[in-house]
């Protein structure tokens, strides 16, 4: 009973007290310095650019993969207004995914990212989830506007307190160029007409870009590359091309472009032309058919390149037969003869090759020889199975099936093997 009265007295005493409610949207309590809302990028007021160089350390350390950063050359570096060679060109953070773990802040070597400790960092209600993908402008806004006036990193305070307790020299202050003082100084500079960024060095003259522009070469991936890098690119392309050539496969247009652009000798071997002095990028070549384009002779099964490929393929099959002490099939002999293979005479072929005219239909079907009708169902079947087997082998090796082979299989009413049928 007294308990009841005591309870009533207690509740009445709370009734008379002032409510502790803070009416949030109208009235906001101050947030502590350590408040951890969402990561934002800091703005270097001394150099009028972000601290972030796009080095991707935070991206790689992010446990939830919510960040993307793109590094690019800093245009202010040659101008001498910045000592950063690279700068973050693009930066995205998906706030919907971020779990505010602070790891990006801890790992950043440039004091470039910090947790927003203002209300603006918390108030991210949107109607569309995609609006939570913040780009570099959004991420820099808090610091650039001066709202992020007390950037805080736990590591700094740990280091400071450790240094104080051990009596060592205290570490340098961090985020100096992102503080309101730096912002004021920048405003003063702008007022005095000195420019937003401090001039660190004399502007450099960029030799590489100007030289390449004089020669009239269109700007592409190769402009401004050093000799060493060009050589590395060339050797890599040559290696790839050689692998393709060994397999009797078509050297791709992109690869040829790289070969031509790097003045490789292989370019001439493949195309029979000198490397062009001013190469045209592959995208620009789409309108004008080039002699080296694999598509240019796609309709002609008797182009020199295809005949050579056919010959080499036939030679390889013939050798397999010879190794197994089998008789080389007549169809194969026909191909060897028609492609003027040296093996043909070795195997005892005596017939003169038939002249293959460019533009005729498939010679395998169109030509006849002394041994009888090459289009007999048996031979057609054998040819089809061989072509299919060949395509299957290529597939098994993970190589693409050449256009020509596909056509051949189709003309023989075969089925082109697909990766699903590889096993």
């Amino acid at each position: 009973m007294f308990g009841i009265l005591k309870g009533l007295a207690t509740t009445f005493s709370t009734f008379t007290r002032k409510p502790v409610t803070i009416e949030y949207p109208d009235e906001k309590r101050d947030l502590p310095e350590r408040q951890r809302s969402f990561p934002v990028l800091t703005w270097d007021f001394d150099h009028d650019e972000p601290f972030c160089t796009g080095c991707n350390i935070c991206v790689r350390n992010c446990p939830v993969d919510c960040m993307t950063a793109v590094m690019q050359d800093n245009p202010k570096h040659p101008e001498g207004t910045s000592n950063r060679r690279k700068i973050a060109g693009k930066f995205w953070i998906d706030y919907a995914r971020c779990m505010r773990c602070n790891i990006c802040v801890e790992v950043c070597p440039f004091e470039a990212i910090v947790m927003d400790n203002n209300w603006s960092g918390h108030e991210h209600s949107v109607f569309d989830r995609r609006d939570l993908h913040k780009d570099i402008e959004d991420l820099l806004a808090s610091s650039k506007s001066g709202e992020l006036s007390r950037p805080f990193r736990p590591l700094d305070s740990i280091n400071l307190s450790e240094a104080v307790s051990t009596g060592e020299e205290t570490p340098e202050a961090t985020f100096v160029a992102a503080l309101p003082k730096a912002r004021e100084e920048q405003n003063q500079r702008i007022e005095q007409g000195l420019g937003a960024a401090i001039q660190e060095r004399e502007p450099e003259v960029q030799a590489t870009t100007s030289a390449s522009n004089e020669s009239g070469v269109a700007e592409d991936d190769f402009s401004g590359l050093s000799e060493r890098k060009l050589r590395a690119r060339r050797m890599k392309a040559e290696r790839e091309a050689k692998v393709l050539l060994e397999k009797n496969e078509v050297v791709g247009q992109e690869l040829l472009y790289v070969l031509g652009r790097t003045k490789s000798t292989l370019y001439k071997e493949i195309t029979g032309e000198d490397a062009p002095s001013i190469p045209v990028p592959p995208s620009a070549k789409a309108d004008s058919p080039s002699p080296i384009s694999p598509n240019s002779d796609a309709g002609d099964p008797n182009s020199p390149r295809k005949i050579r490929a056919k010959r080499m393929r036939a030679e390889r099959t013939a050798r397999e037969h010879i190794e197994k002490n089998e008789e080389v099939p007549a169809v194969l002999m026909t191909i060897l003869r028609d492609t003027e293979s040296p093996i043909y005479t070795e195997l005892g072929g005596t017939e003169t090759p038939q002249v293959l005219e460019t533009g005729t239909s498939n010679p395998d079907i169109a030509t006849e020889n002394a041994e009888g009708n090459v289009d007999s169902p048996r031979k057609l079947r054998a040819r089809r199975m061989r072509a299919e087997k060949e395509a299957q082998e290529l597939l098994n090796q993970g190589e693409p099936i050449p256009e020509e082979l596909v056509e051949r299989i189709k003309s023989l009413d075969g089925t082109v093997p697909t990766p699903e049928s590889a096993t």
Partner: protein, 375 residues
């Protein structure tokens, strides 16, 4: 023309006008009672309560009512259709009938009945029918259990309620509420019969399903009990009935025990002040109910029933007996008041001693004790 005469002299038009006045007044009062309850309970918890709807949240009740009216009215497939649909009205109408006979000022009610208090007892019993209908008609065994619990609680607490009021009626010698208020010009009956007021108050808490006796609704445990299947406008009828009953009982209590429109200023001060006096006293009662709600935890069902049958009914019958003795032998009321206060004190001490004891299962008062954990 006095307020008791028919409006325009036409009796049927008079009935309609008076009913309309009562309905609209009751609706407004209920809307602001919900708002007031939220505000008061919030302050008891050092919060602010509703603040965003209108100035200081004044339109919160309107917004809630609007939302409830617009909300979909669901009926379970296996519900007993007519019982289910009429249950809210069967709960609401008795409460409304109670309101019709209350004197808000001298001769200033919808209808002044010679057997006003008897009428209140009579129609209150009907309230239970609505609760049982709701529990039975929902086609839900939990709603049925909730309904039965509510009915058991309400029937049980009606006995001490009625007996406690009878002691006052015996003193007054009349059942006319206007007459009862009239008799309290020099002293309200709470001074003469404080024990009866305490019993009345506790019983009213239970009748209204208010904390700590809100077992039938118990939002956190059985989600509304007998009206668990109701939504929208029908659910709001239950709420309307509950808050209208709260208002009606507080006015009833202020008339019977606190002197109503009469006590401090007498019957000569005019209708306006009398009306204000009644409303202030009833507001005090309502505040007391909210205050108890903000303080007490909910009782267990067995504690609730044992408190009623083992404590309240005994005390109320004893009080009835004592009052009868006093009236029969014509002893002065001052001594009755003394006995009453002494009895209240003795009861307090008795309960205090019981709370000091180690609590046993079924011990009503043991619940309020801080249980000390001993080895």
């Amino acid at each position: 023309m006095s307020f008791g005469d028919p409006f325009f002299g036409i009796s049927w038009l008079d009935i309609i006008i008076r009913t309309l006045i009562m309905v609209s007044a009751m609706t407004v009062v209920v809307i602001y009672l919900t708002y007031g309850e939220r505000k008061v309970v919030a302050r008891f918890q050092m919060r602010l309560g509703p603040t965003r709807t209108g100035p200081v949240g004044l339109l919160q009740g309107v917004a809630d009512a609007l939302k409830l009216v617009v909300k979909e009215d669901l009926r379970p497939r296996n519900a007993d259709r007519w019982v289910f649909e009429f249950a809210p009205y069967a709960t609401f109408v008795p409460v409304f009938l109670v309101l019709l006979t209350l004197p808000f000022a001298e001769d200033w009610g919808i209808r002044n009945l010679a057997l006003g208090m008897f009428f209140v007892f009579a129609v209150l019993g009907l309230n239970i029918v609505g609760v049982l209908m709701a529990g039975f008609g929902s086609g839900n065994k939990y709603a049925l259990l909730g309904g039965i619990r509510a009915a058991a609680q309400m029937i049980s607490y009606e006995i001490p309620l009625v007996v406690a009021l009878l002691t006052v009626a015996m003193l007054a010698g009349t059942l006319d509420l206007n007459q009862i208020a009239n008799l309290q010009g020099d002293r309200p009956f709470i001074l003469v019969q404080p024990l009866a007021f305490v019993i009345f108050f506790i019983a009213v808490l239970s009748e209204l399903h208010r904390a700590p006796f809100d077992i039938p609704v118990a939002e956190s445990e059985i989600v509304g009990g007998y009206f668990v299947e109701y939504s929208g406008i029908r659910w709001s009828m239950f709420q309307l009935a509950e808050y209208a009953a709260l208002w009606g009982f507080s006015i009833f209590g202020s008339v019977v025990f606190l002197g109503g429109w009469n006590f401090p200023f007498g019957s000569e001060v005019g209708v306006g002040l009398q009306l204000a006096l009644t409303l202030i006293k009833s507001t005090l009662m309502i505040f007391l109910i909210f205050w108890v709600r903000a303080t007490m935890p909910r009782l267990r069902m067995d504690q609730l029933m044992s408190f009623c049958w083992k404590v309240l009914i005994e005390i109320s019958f004893a009080l009835l007996l004592v009052t009868g003795f006093f009236l029969y032998y014509n002893w002065p009321q001052e001594i009755l008041a003394l006995v009453n206060w002494g009895g209240a004190l003795l009861l307090l001490i008795a309960i205090f001693i019981r709370t000091r004891r180690k609590s046993k299962a079924g011990d009503l008062v043991g619940t309020y004790k801080n249980i000390e954990v001993t080895e």
